[in-house]
Symmetry: C2
Subunit: 238 residues, 2 copies
C-alpha cells in the first residue's frame, strides 16, 4: 500500500505527526502537496462537490479507496498497519485517548500566538497573544507535561502505551521539539522536572529511520508559519 498524505507544503504543522509515523515505519508514501502541482491537486479535492466524504481540513490521508481526515483519526487507522500501536482494542483506545489529549495541546500551542483568529496576522493580536501565551506557559504547559510524565511512569517509563514505541511516543517527541523551538526559555526551566519524558524524547530521536528522516530534506524546518512559532516576547521573560 502506498499512502498519499495531503497537507500544507510549507509547514510541519499537524501533518508532521502523520509523517513521523510513516517515516518511522519505513512506509511507502507520497507527500502530495509538496510535489509539483500538488497544491492544485489538494485544493481541487477539498473543493470538489463530488467527494462524498469531504475532509474538513488537511491533513488527510488516502489509503486505497479510503480518505481519512483528522490527525488523531489518521494515526488511529495507521497505528496497527504500521506496527506502531499494540493490537489489543483496549490499548488502541487508550493510545487514541492520549493522542486526542495531544491534539488539544497542539490547539493550545496554536492559540498561544493566535488567540483571536487564525485568519488574522499575529501582529493584529499581539497584545492578546501575550496574555494567552503567559497562561499557556505558566498553567497549561506544566499541566500537559506532568500528565504525560505520570502516564509514562505508570506504564514503567519505557513507552507511553504498551511495551514498545507507539505513534503516541512519536507525537510526544514532536511536542517536545516544537515547544523547544517556540518557548526555549520556558522549556529549559520545565524540562528538569520531566526527566522521563525527555529520556523518551531522546530514545525516539535515536531511532535509525527517524535519524535519517530528521537529517533529510523531507523534514521541513520549524518556521513562523506553523503551529510552533518562536516569538521571543511570548516566551518566559524572567
Amino acid at each position: 500500500m502506498r499512502y498519499e498524505l495531503y497537507y500544507w507544503p510549507g509547514i510541519q504543522g499537524r501533518g508532521e505527526f502523520v509523517r513521523l509515523a510513516l517515516e518511522d515505519a519505513g512506509a511507502a508514501y507520497v507527500d502530495v502537496a509538496r510535489r509539483p502541482r500538488g497544491m492544485v491537486a489538494m485544493s481541487r479535492f477539498l473543493e470538489s462537490r463530488s467527494v462524498k466524504r469531504p475532509p474538513f481540513a488537511p491533513p488527510f490521508l488516502k489509503a486505497g479507496k479510503l480518505v481519512i481526515g483528522q490527525t488523531a483519526n489518521i494515526l488511529f487507522f495507521l497505528g496497527p498497519l504500521l506496527g506502531l500501536v499494540p493490537k489489543d482494542d483496549a490499548d488502541r483506545l487508550w493510545a487514541h485517548q492520549l493522542q486526542l489529549a495531544i491534539a488539544d495541546w497542539v490547539a493550545e500551542v496554536h492559540d498561544a500566538h493566535h488567540p483571536i483568529a487564525s485568519s488574522l496576522y499575529y501582529e493584529e493580536q499581539k497584545r492578546e497573544a501575550k496574555r494567552r501565551a503567559e497562561n499557556f506557559r505558566v498553567e497549561r504547559l506544566p499541566k500537559f507535561l506532568s500528565y504525560f510524565e505520570q502516564v509514562l511512569e505508570r506504564n514503567g517509563s519505557r513507552a507511553l502505551v504498551g511495551n514498545a514505541v507507539s505513534y503516541v511516543d512519536l507525537s510526544l517527541f514532536q511536542m517536545i521539539e516544537g515547544l523547544r523551538y517556540a518557548f526555549p526559555r520556558a522549556m529549559t526551566k520545565q524540562e528538569r522536572k520531566y526527566r522521563q519524558l525527555i529520556a523518551l524524547h531522546d530514545r525516539v530521536a535515536a531511532r535509525p529511520r527517524l535519524v535519517a528522516y530528521l537529517a533529510s530534506g523531507r523534514r521541513l524546518p520549524f518556521n513562523q508559519e506553523g503551529i510552533f512559532r518562536h516569538y521571543p516576547e511570548l516566551d518566559d521573560q524572567s
Copy 2:
C-alpha cells in the same frame, strides 16, 4: 452492562454529547458525579496515583474494567454497542472524523467567551472575548454549518452517516441547541441557509426517548457555567 459516566454535575458541557447517546439508546447508566458524594468519587479517581491509565479530564466513562476518556473516543467506543453507528469499519472512522470536527467546533465555542484562559473569569477577558466571538460568528460558525450541511446533502439528507441516525446526528442536534442558546441573533440569521441541518435537528428532537429525556430532570438547563453561554454582547449586534 451498566455504564458509569463521570462529568461535572452542574453543566451540560462535553458530557452531554455522551448523555444524548446513552439516553437515545435507552442504555442503563449512572451519572456518577450527580449522585450524593459523586463529586468526591470523581475527584478521588482523577487524583488517584494508582490509576494506571488516568483520564486527562472529564468526561470519562467506565464500562466494566475499561475507563475511556475524551468525548469523541467515548462515542467511538459506545457507537456500535448502542446501535448508533453503522458497523462497517470505514463508516465508523468517518463518523469519528465528523465527531472530531464537532469537538473542534465545541472548543471554539468555549474559546469565544474564554479566549485567554479557562482559569480566568469571563469578566477578566471580556474585551478579548468580544473580538474572538465576532470572528467566531462571522467566519467560523458559517464554515462549520456549511460543512455539515454539505456532508448531510452528499449523504442524501436523512442522516450524516449511513442510513439511520448515528451519535453524530445527536451531537449535531446538541450543537444547534447550544448555539441557539448562546447566539440567538446570529443563529436566527444563519439557520435560513442550512435547512437540511435544521430539519435533521428537528427529527432528532422528535425521537421518543429524547423527547422524554429533554423533558426530564436529567437534562440540565443551559447556563452561564457551561460551554454554551449567552452573553448578549457577544452575539450579533446588528
